[in-house]
Symmetry: none
Subunit: 134 residues, 2 copies
Amino acid sequence: MPLDPLSSTFAALADPTRRAILARLALGETSVMELAKPFDMSLPAISKHLKVLEHAGLISRGREAQWRPCRIAPASFKQADGWLGNFRRFWDESFNRLDGLLEEMKAEEAAKAPPRSNRKVRVKKEKQRGRTRG
Amino acid sequence: MPLDPLSSTFAALADPTRRAILARLALGETSVMELAKPFDMSLPAISKHLKVLEHAGLISRGREAQWRPCRIAPASFKQADGWLGNFRRFWDESFNRLDGLLEEMKAEEAAKAPPRSNRKVRVKKEKQRGRTRG
DNA sequence: CATGTACTTAGCTCATCGGTTAAATAACCT
DNA sequence: AGGTTATTTAACCGATGAGCTAAGTACATG
């Protein structure tokens, strides 16, 4: 019984070895052997991890002679990030509903104006919203 | 053996029931009974899910009489989102900052894997592969 | 064709996970 | 004290997951 895409994506991300593999792949496409080197783990274990990542849509694999180069596949990352985005207002002050609307407007404006990358403002501040506690 | 925080967070997110619980909590703090209603599942099962979410730092729980109100806890969301953010350039065109973000990420993940990987790439034939992402 | 390299599949073990029911705890209300 | 409501803990079960070793497949080259 196959899990829904979001579940298999998050499940794939829930392993430090696999996250390290992805981090490595963020630097560029590479082979299984190369990916396996940093780990004190058998090659079949790595192969399984790659299969999990591929099935989760986080990587894609090609074929080049006897090598199977792996590379990051964006779609599942985007989907996971999108899901988390629904909660962004809980930690990102600049991301409440109003700001969301404003940003959409800005994005639309920016499509006509000179492109300045300001899609997201990183705010270091962390603050609790009003809560009915005591 | 406790998992690292990022792993337990992603593992907690890898279940549709738990994600639905979080989606419900995004609408506001509520009780276990209330959270359990939409699911065709026993109460202890929900209780376990909440424990997983709490342990992952995705929710926090208070006490109000005999109720244990649950609410979203931002920190782990933020951390997961931050990790995913390291890959944002792969799908977000407006995310072109090639800072030392990857370095941070590598450092964090490499702390869990033995960094014995400084070997030269064993290139037999100067076979040029990869680098499609340049 | 034979051998080597890169990788995957098969089959096993053991731990963890998601679910169950039954019983226990905690706080409220007579 | 006794009962009701809300929630957790205990004990169990089947499925899945991460690791292993050994064997199999795909391609390259001598």
